[in-house]
Amino acid sequence: MTVMEQRGVYRPTPPPAWQLRTDPAPLLPDAEPYRVLGTEAAGKADEELLGRLYAQLVRGRRYNTQATALTKQGRLAVYPSSTGQEACEVAAALVLEERDWLFPSYRDTLAAVARGLDPVQALTLLRGDWHTGYDPREYRIAPLCTPLATQLPHAVGLAHAARLKGDDVVALAMVGDGGTSEGDFHEALNFAAVWQAPVVFLVQNNGFAISVPLDKQTAAPSLAHKAVGYGMPGRLVDGNDAAAVHEVLSEAVSRAREGGGPTLVEAVTYRMEAHTNADDATRYRGDAEVEAWRAHDPIVLLERELTERGLLDEDRMRAARDDAEAMAADLRGRMNQDPDLDPMDLFRHVYAEQTTQLREQAAQLRAELEASNEEHTDGTDGTDGEENAR
């Protein structure tokens, strides 16, 4: 016995061993993005699914080019194109059941359309006539989200609520590589893992956050690696390989549905167009880089696979193109009509019940409109109790 122990001096007992609750190894992503097309795995892929993915990719590309054209005609205020990223968009929509929820960012209009939302409604925000052009509950698509990563905790909360109610609903939330640096990304992943919420996070790593490349965004080995710190699996997938994205997301959705908790999926892809029509991409990247990615175009990859296996002929390709063309023509036609806007809408949905303050302001605007003879469509002044009572 030492002198100090004899005197009864406090000696700390060693703390309980720090426990690793989870072996990190199974959570770690593979070193290389998972691929299906052009590999042996492709032979096992469901042919019907590949055909559906192909039709949707062709449609999605056409949707992107059409929406971009609409910005040039001044019909859309802005359009963040997902050209080159269609495989992610389409797979995200197709892996969900009807009861599941999609939480898109501003770039993910195509995912919403692939899920069944009317293309015109999907463009309401970007056209500028209202913020959300649809009832989110009807399609189970959250409003397109502009503040980065803020939709991620919403997805966690919704999935958590669904599970509390006993519904086997999964939420799939989409975010860009830049968005992974936001605090909300961290908080959402942490909550999801602690609550074992049925959520799938899909990061579309398209190389840039506006102009900032990934290596200035993060020092992590990959974005998928971030999952491990929260205690959820991280998966790395080739984001231009529609079959691979679909497979990885399907697995993650099934796991979530069966109570296995959240997954973080990083899809490595490339943004072929500028950030939006307002951006000048030549300031931060060269043509050679863009060209190199053209060979890895999601449509090219799938077309090659399908053709080699004799699953795609001229007729089928034409059918896909015709379908896409019809969608584009319809979109163009309807977007070329001016939306029917009622200025009194400004006051209708601020509160469930109109405040006296807003009632006064609505009356002011109505008087201004009447003085200028501008039409407001339904003759009410935005203070109508029933309309506000929803």
Binding site: H154, A162, N190, Y351
Partner: protein
């Protein structure tokens, strides 16, 4: 039961209760009545919240209804948004006023405007409980009065009780509201007591109504939350000076009860706005402007403000110099008289 009999029954069973207890009772009753109500926040479970407002809720309703969350305010409010999207009514506790700031993004960009963004399809029936204000000797970041930030955000209701009964009634009304409510709890009144009967059914006050706490004819003190008892004290002290002050407790900052306020100021012809938060860009400026717009011809003096200084909240040993007290209020009232006489 006749009103008189009911009142007698209430009085009989009334016993001293604190504001914190009344708030807890409101949460309990809301949880019991509506399975959609969920309480979440930091330490709201076993501990019962740092102010013990959620005491016993997890025990009674289980961890799914009263949930200890990870320590992340944006995450708490952000997940509450998703829960509300799925039809729940989350009641979120922010531990202290200044710790609600990480959640501002969610509050302003989503909670406040989700109804509007979705044209009414997606209401956000979320109650955000924020203990606020000073006077409890809190160290830095524990005494902010952030009501001006919330008031400046369209889509939010902002309410604050000053009495034990209102704490219960307003919180019940907030949780029942289909719109988001920032429910500001005056920290230094948590332990204020009143005779209150927790067993009798309580009238739930509608949000948006001010109340005249004391009638008077010389001038109106317009105030809310922690400053209400201070104004009541000032009104009593003013009697010695020959002034008969009316005290209006606003209770709700958004929506604002222009009617009650204007009616009072038209009666008295003079008004002082009293609050703890800074005066510059503070709630008092808005209130004074509204009063002036509505009552200009009835006013016999400019509307004055007695507010906290325009400084970061001071350290506890100096806060008594910052907080508007009885003397500062009476000084302002004296200035009203001077303005009227000259």
């Amino acid at each position: 039961m006749s009103t008189v009999a009911a009142e007698r029954a209430t009085k009989k069973a009334a016993k001293p209760a604190t504001m914190a207890q009344a708030l807890g009772r409101a949460l309990r009753d809301s949880l019991a009545e509506d399975p959609a109500v969920h309480v979440l926040g930091e330490d709201v479970g076993a501990l019962g919240g740092v102010f013990r407002v959620t005491d016993g809720l997890t025990k009674e309703f289980g961890e799914d209804r009263c949930t200890d969350t990870p320590l992340a305010e944006a995450g708490i409010l952000g997940t509450a948004v998703g829960m509300a999207m799925y039809g729940l009514r989350p009641v979120v506790e922010m531990q202290f006023d200044a710790f609600a700031y990480p959640a501002f993004e969610q509050l302003i960009s989503h909670v406040a405007r989700m109804r509007n963004r979705t044209r009414g399809a997606m209401p956000m029936p979320i109650t955000v409980r924020v203990p606020y204000g000073g006077g409890i000797g809190g160290v830095e970041h524990h005494s902010d009065s952030s009501e001006a930030y919330y008031m400046a955000t369209p889509g939010l209701h902002v309410v604050t009780p000053a009495t034990v009964a209102d704490a219960y009634g307003l919180l019940r009304a907030s949780i029942a509201s289909d719109d988001p409510v920032v429910f500001l709890e005056p920290k230094r009144l948590y332990w204020s007591k009143a005779d209150w009967n927790p067993d009798a059914p309580q009238a739930v006050e509608p949000i948006g109504k001010a109340v005249v706490r004391r009638t008077g004819r010389s001038a109106t003190l317009l105030t809310y939350g922690p400053s209400v008892p201070v104004c009541m004290e000032a009104a009593e002290a003013a009697v010695a000076e020959g002034w008969d002050l009316e005290v209006v407790d606003l209770r709700s900052l958004v929506p604002f009860d222009d009617e009650t306020v204007a009616a009072s100021v038209r009666r008295t012809g003079r008004a002082v706005v009293v609050h703890e938060s800074g005066g510059f860009g503070g709630p008092g400026g808005e209130i004074a402007a509204r009063v002036t717009e509505r009552c200009f011809h009835h006013l016999e003096a400019p509307v004055l403000r007695v507010a906290g200084f325009d400084i970061p909240y001071p350290p506890p040993m100096l806060e008594r110099h910052h907080l508007p007290g009885v003397d500062r209020i009476l000084d302002a009232v004296a200035r009203l008289q001077w303005e009227a006489d000259n």
